[in-house]
């Protein structure tokens, strides 16, 4: 059995709430639930550092200063705490900060929790809160929404690559199929290609199945430095072998080539390089699928498909659970549900569950290497992590 690498950074506990409309549960209660689960997996370990990933709380809950709010509410007063915001990449960005802090040697333990509460305000207010992640002066002022931006992106993608109208259907079909066996998923009904083809338009050409549902949720990940791993952990810890972030233009119209995500490509490349691995070594990819066009572009940016052919992986079974490169193994944003700034940590938690062999009916057999990536805006921010399972159960 491999020994932990002393300067390695390990995930020793994860916790997730189901994603959904949690009328009864507030922002701080959601965070607490995920934190308690993660800490319990590590014998109640108390972290020195706390990073809270969130993008909408000031606008939708009238609450900022979340680092201290969560530390206080979760019995962690005294921890070094702060909020990390990078739009939809908040979760991955928060993990990156925790990773950097532990790698610096200044601390030994860190808890990263993503939490989002979107159901306390009406839809038009949620749309304008989401729009703050765009260029306020040159995109949001014209009434652009996340959905409309994804629709513009999708239409151009299909046009430039000569792809059929249902090219992106496979992402939704795969996600829904995987969620059937995930008891915590928001939508657990499988859909067929006909459902996609007949689906109502949300913002043409983007239909109902091209867009993930945004709802409430929290996910937490507990990190410990390799030379400080507590004994007797119930699940062998997972190592973060690669961690990288990058930025591109903020506005979609400012990207040098709107159909190429340089931040996603760069951060994925660096994460793989740090781990000494190639794309073909990756056994599952928790990619950003808030909209189906993101998923196609993410596959292309990470090097799994040529430009304009990411959608084909969704059509030919490559990304299915039994395929060569499973994605959204628990349903992804599309079917498990999208919890805004917390989504990046749902991705990490689910990847850990896979690598530790705990995925039950959703298990990717023999998975040892997982790539996890979340995006902010139209690829303006990308946070990518490469997780490897070297330690086995004793």
């Amino acid at each position: 059995m491999a020994s932990p690498i002393p300067e390695g950074i390990y995930i020793v506990g994860v916790g997730m709430t189901p994603v959904g409309e949690h009328w009864e549960t507030s922002l701080r209660h959601l965070a607490l639930e995920a934190i308690q689960t993660a800490r319990a997996e590590a014998g109640g370990l108390r972290p020195q550092l706390l990073y809270v990933a969130n993008m909408l709380a000031p606008a939708l809950s009238g609450q900022s200063h979340l680092g201290t709010l969560v530390a206080d509410f979760a019995g962690l007063r005294g921890a070094e705490a702060m909020t990390v915001e990078a739009a939809g990449a908040s979760g991955g960005a928060a993990l990156r900060q925790a990773y950097l802090a532990l790698r610096s040697g200044e601390a030994e333990t860190a808890l990263v929790v993503g939490v989002e509460k979107v159901t306390d305000k009406g839809s038009s207010e949620v749309e304008s809160a989401l729009a703050t992640a765009k260029d306020a002066d040159y995109e949001a002022v014209h009434g652009l929404t996340d959905t409309a931006q994804a629709a513009l992106w999708m239409r151009r993608y299909l046009h430039e690559h000569g792809a059929p109208a249902d090219a992106l259907a496979g992402f939704s079909l795969t996600a829904h199929r995987n969620a059937v066996t995930n008891p915590h998923a928001m939508y657990r009904r499988a859909i067929e290609l006909e459902d996609y083809r007949k689906a109502g338009m949300v913002s043409e050409p983007l239909n109902l199945y091209d867009a993930a549902p945004l709802a409430d949720g929290a996910a937490a990940v507990l990190l410990v430095r390799g030379d400080r791993l507590p004994p007797g952990l119930p699940h062998p810890p997972t190592r973060i072998a690669g961690s990288a972030m990058s930025t591109a233009a903020l506005a979609l119209h400012d990207q040098v080539d709107p159909l190429w995500m340089p931040a996603a490509a760069e951060s994925a490349g660096r994460a793989l390089q740090q781990a000494g691995l190639q794309p073909e070594d990756v056994q599952l990819f928790e990619l950003h699928d808030r909209f189906s066009v993101h998923a196609a572009l993410s596959l292309e940016a990470a090097g799994f498909a040529a430009r304009g052919r990411g959608w084909e992986l969704a059509h030919n079974g490559t990304i299915a659970l039994q395929g060569r490169l499973p994605v959204t193994t628990f349903g992804g944003s599309k079917a498990r549900g999208d919890a805004g700034g917390a989504t990046g940590l749902y991705q990490v938690a689910e990847a850990v569950v896979q690598l530790q062999g705990r995925a039950g009916e959703n298990q990717v057999p023999g998975a040892r290497v997982a790539l996890v990536q979340c995006l902010g805006g139209a690829g303006g921010t990308a946070a990518t992590h490469l997780l490897v399972q070297e330690l086995e159960a004793a």
Binding site: S123, S124, E125, E127, S128, L130, A131, D137, Y138, E139, A140, V141, H142, G143, L144, T145, T147, A148, A151, L152, W153, R155, R156, H159, V202, S203, E204, P205, L206, A249, A251, L252, H253, D254, P258
Partner: protein, 134 residues
């Protein structure tokens, strides 16, 4: 009320005034003072012609706060003939179907009212070319 924020941008908004980079001659919109291409300082104002073509388009049905009363409205990314891509609403379509590549021209329209009592915000939208200059 966001008076000064909108006021600062009036030249860009009303008339599509951007910048031209003195080093690499890139036409820049919106103006950003540092050329996104070569990284040099670029503060020389440049008046765009307003002509361009549709790069992509869609319709917004679920509007953000402040835009509900205009919904549904058409949105597009437009490739200006000088090079930059901009995001804006389309207007004056009539019964015309929009297509990628359709030539369009800039018009100055009311973007929104800042609430019932706030200022009126004007800015650029794009419409299909008017036929027949006399």
């Amino acid at each position: 009320m966001e008076t000064s924020r909108h006021w600062r941008l009036r030249q860009q908004r009303y008339a599509l005034v951007g910048e031209v980079c003195p080093s690499c001659e890139q036409r820049i919109f919106p103006p950003r003072d540092l050329c996104p291409d070569c990284g040099e300082e670029a503060r020389e104002l440049y008046q765009f012609s307003g002509r361009g073509e549709v790069y992509s388009f869609t319709t917004v049905y679920q509007a953000p706060a402040g835009f509900e009363q205009e919904a549904p409205y058409p949105m597009a990314m437009v490739r200006l003939e000088e090079g930059p891509l901009v995001t804006a609403q389309l207007t004056d379509l009539g019964d015309r179907a929009v297509q990628i590549g359709m030539p369009v021209e800039m018009v100055t329209r009311k973007l929104r009212a800042d609430g019932e009592r706030g200022m009126l915000v004007y800015g650029y939208k794009f419409r299909p070319l008017l036929n027949g200059k006399s």
